[in-house]
Amino acid sequence: MEKEKTQVIAALVENKPGVLHSVSNMFRRRGFNIESITVGQTEQKGVARMTLTVSGDEKTLEQITKQMNKLIDVIKVNELEPDSIVTRELALVKINVPDVKGRSDIINCVEVFRGRVVDVSTESLMVEITGTPDKIDAFLNLMKTYGISELARTGLTALSRGVKSLRVEE
């Protein structure tokens, strides 16, 4: 078995019904792994952008790109180079607050991680944190001591650095 590797893929797709289905269905049918997927509109009308984090050996990753390219409503597929991209994920975390000291410890941590407290109640705090998935993992690990009562992560999104852009030619 060849070495498994993780790859971030950005795809521009037609922004119309059924496109997410045809992409995810292709992954399921061919047994490819999706670790995360995010979808949103782009600056171009009618074009949506999907950011997928996928894993597999080299051959599988090549097939993933090729099979995505085959889908009619997928306009462009780009394998993003890990060294030249900015990746971000956002997480909303609800953390149990044991006492006043615990509360201030948590808020200190949030500041170190450049997060924000977005909701406060007597027994909990809600924190918004943005960063690479590794950074979010590290923060969540710290918060386990207090107890995470609810967690929502957006999945990874990414753009490549520099002037070159992934766009549909008009």
Binding site: V13, E14, G18, H21, S22, N25, M26, R29, K59, E62, Q63, K66, Q67, N69, K70, L71, I72, D73, V74, I75, K76, V168
Partner: protein, 569 residues
């Protein structure tokens, strides 16, 4: 052009006419009634009423493969649409351009409520169901979009690697009227089928082939769908390279040509399976290296340098590692390779490799001896002798199909039509009807088994009543032969559920539908029956009883390499 006010149904049929559609196969129902009603005012389109939607889909597929033009089938919503599914999956696996149009429940109900998604009567999510088995599918949502959607559907189905496209047509949109503008524009920014090969790759391929001592060409179905047989022949003759075909490629190269070595694969010709493994350079064109063709991939020509021409980039490196990939149209790629090659090599008249091929041929494919027993090999060799060169032969699936692959020599592309990828029993007969509609001047024969023929035999009514005469040869062994063979070989002869018995009586069955039936007991009787079928304009069923113990050999057992073939040719 000036806009025309018309209904969705009329816009659809007009769009089909503009695409040159003259025949459609289908069965109507509630949710597609407006389209059928509009057929009254479109006499240029002939509707052929199938007796089951699966038959309509296979007929459209047979039509497409025989003619090279998209075949069209209609069905209603719900069960009509789901009955098409086997036919669509079949077309998808074999890259056949089929356009399937399904009725759908209305988008809006009587009180303007949304009906799709509310589990209405005869509602099925056919878009969801067919997403993995179509090249593309789309639900129409307005009358205005019909012309451009139909244009795109035909363009997608017929270009690049061909495949089925399904259009789902809600009933209220069929009935609505709107201003329709005609356009030839196709706006598909996510779909650009490859055309010309990359010159650098062509140069590398030509260099490799020019230096090869033992070149072999492997031609797949892409040579046929890409109409590249002539180009293939010129390259093969220039290099004096033996040509093997995959099952789907049968007919891409004339099988009586001196360089033809037959099919590779599980039931391939031992000559092809042997010589392919001896090659130092393989030029593979339009093939996806299916498991049935390659056998165990570890022993599939590990030493040979491989050039792979395919119009579908995703096929390159999917199953077999490739040295020189060429993503292009097969016809253009082969022409470009030839142009490069003639600058480098002189046309060979002899080579040690050619001598080796001739020796192997004498040894492994001996001249047929006169044999009058009612066995598949002499039967199919006799059939070849009797049928004109332009005869289109379809097959069912199973032993009948593999015997045809082994013993029935195909001389021209698009004259051998069979379900290779999906292996759909019941495909051959409706496909033969479609092929006959596409090529009314060619005789059309379906080589069938009794098990397969029963699965779509109801289309005898369609064939007789619509006056589309074809001939079915039933190799009748009273068993589901191929699975019985596997039970015999790999399950210690425990025959479970493979015995069909002696019913139906195929002569009476044919007669019940208004066709003619013959039962033959010898090769001379078989000859008489085939001759009389060729002469008559009536659908004919020829029942040929054969032994239920007959195996298809040679065979590469599952999991083995092509070099581990057992049994005599």
């Amino acid at each position: 052009m000036t806009p025309n006010k018309m209904s969705g149904a009329n816009a659809l049929l007009e769009s089909l006419e503009r695409q040159g559609v003259k025949e459609v196969f289908g069965i109507l129902g509630g949710a597609i009634l407006p389209v059928y009603d509009a057929l009254c005012t479109h006499p240029k389109i002939r509707h052929i009423l199938a007796r089951h939607e699966q038959g309509a889909a296979h007929a459209a597929d047979g039509y497409a493969r025989a003619s090279g033009r998209p075949g069209v089938c209609f069905a209603t919503s719900g069960p009509g649409a789901t009955n098409l599914v086997t036919g669509i999956a079949n077309a998808h696996m074999d890259s056949s351009p089929v356009i399937a149009l399904t009725g759908q429940v209305p988008t809006a109900g009587a009180n303007s409520t949304y009906m799709i998604g509310r589990d209405a009567f005869q509602e099925a999510d056919i878009i969801g169901i067919t997403t993995p088995i179509t090249k593309y599918n789309i639900q129409l949502r307005s009358v205005e979009e019909i012309p451009s959607t139909i244009n795109s559907a035909f363009y997608i189905a017929a270009t690049g690697r061909p495949g089925p496209v399904l259009i789902d047509f809600p009933k209220d949109i069929q009935a609505q009227t709107a201003n329709v503008e005609w356009t030839d524009k196709i706006d598909l920014r996510g779909y650009k089928p490859p055309g010309n090969p990359h010159p650098l790759q062509v140069r590398k391929a030509a260099e490799l082939l020019a230096e090869a001592e033992r070149p072999v060409i492997l031609a797949g179905g892409g040579v046929i769908s890409g109409n590249a047989s002539d180009e293939l022949l010129t390259v093969a003759e220039l290099l004096l390279a033996p040509v093997a075909t995959t099952f789907m490629g049968k007919g891409a190269f004339p099988e009586i040509h001196l360089l033809s070595i037959g099919n590779i694969g599980m039931h391939g010709n031992p000559l092809a399976n042997k010589l392919l493994l001896e090659a130092d350079v393989m030029l593979a064109v339009g093939t996806r290296f299916s498991d049935r063709a390659t056998g165990n991939t570890d022993t599939f020509c590990p030493e040979a340098k491989k050039i792979h021409v395919d119009i579908d980039a995703a096929e390159i490196g999917k199953n077999i590692d490739i040295d020189i990939p060429i993503v292009a149209d097969a016809k253009k790629a082969l022409a470009a390779i030839y142009e490069r090659l003639i600058q480098q090599v002189k046309k060979k008249t002899d080579s040690p490799w050619n001598t080796r091929m001739k020796e192997a041929k004498t040894l492994l494919n001996p001249q047929a001896t006169e044999n009058y027993s009612l066995k598949p090999k002499p039967l199919l060799q006799t059939l070849r002798r009797l049928l004109p060169e332009n005869t289109i032969v379809t097959t069912e699936v199973g032993q009948n199909q593999m015997w045809s692959a082994l013993y029935f020599k195909v001389l021209r592309p698009r004259t051998f039509i069979s379900s290779g990828g999906l292996g759909t029993m019941g495909f051959g007969f409706p496909a033969s009807i479609g092929a006959k509609v596409a090529c009314p001047n060619n005789p059309v024969f379906d080589i069938a088994g009794d098990g397969s023929f029963i699965m779509t035999e109801q289309e005898l009514a369609c064939s007789v009543i619509e006056n589309i005469p074809v001939t079915v040869i039933v190799l009748n062994n009273g068993v589901l032969g191929m699975v019985a063979q596997w039970q015999r070989m790999f399950y210690q002869k425990r025959y479970v559920a493979t015995k069909l018995g002696t019913y139906p009586n195929f002569v009476k069955l044919a007669e019940a539908y208004g066709a003619q039936g013959f039962r033959v007991g010898s090769i001379p009787e078989f000859e008489t029956a085939v001759r009389s079928a060729l002469k008559s304009n009536v659908t004919t069923v020829i029942d040929v009883p054969i032994s239920s113990e007959e195996d298809v050999v040679p065979m590469v057992p599952p999991g083995c390499g092509l070099n581990q073939q057992v049994g005599d040719y």
